[in-house]
Subunit: 114 residues, 2 copies
Amino acid sequence: MRMATADVFQTLADPTRRQIIEALLGGEQQVNDVVEKLSIHQSGVSRHLRILLDAGFVQMRPDGQRRLYSLRPEPFQAVDSWVASYRKLWEARLDRFGDALERKQRAKKQGAKA
Amino acid sequence: MRMATADVFQTLADPTRRQIIEALLGGEQQVNDVVEKLSIHQSGVSRHLRILLDAGFVQMRPDGQRRLYSLRPEPFQAVDSWVASYRKLWEARLDRFGDALERKQRAKKQGAKA
DNA sequence: TTTATATTTACACTCATGCATATATGGAGC
DNA sequence: GCTCCATATATGCATGAGTGTAAATATAAA
């Protein structure tokens, strides 16, 4: 149960796990709910959830005989922080749009607050 | 040679490949330069570079008997865009700091421009 | 105890990795 | 042109890791 960035990518490598993550974006779900959205047996989903739990992507809350799973932000932040190191690769070529974009976003944010 | 987000995570799952990517952050490198930074044989590096090439992470430019590899932005953008879908998971709990932070960054940016 | 929900384990299978070796490619020297 | 050397890729092999399924086991409620 390490929790390093390394395991984060290892965990995300499996498409079924990414599907599970996407399914949980809607909010807390019990195992069977997740199973219905995938084409894999329940035992497989349980194992994937276990891996996601170990990697910190999800948390679990027992509710009677059910187990409710939901997303946790930390590993996503780790990915975000990793990719940030490489953002310079494409930000340069967007520079000319940068200022206009920034102004637009700032205006939007101001509007939302009003 | 697909190029979907799926392969992106699959490609990033291997720690040696992430090392290679990191090594290329310094700029264009020939294969031997990369080999020296890792503890793996040249043939292995070549195969990893091939995989990175297929996934779009790197591009190759022949220079005599050397092959110069460098990073390409697209797959990183794909990761960035994927993680953006989950940003709401942690942005909420940072809201109270958000305004102060934004002001600070804005001030910094202004300062840099001056 | 019976039922619903979920996890664990054993198994077969596939796939990826690293190494070693062989093969390709390009330049230098003759 | 030809050979020699440096650089790099491709292939065959052994090994290890991960996946899905099915059966067995846990857990909680009725």
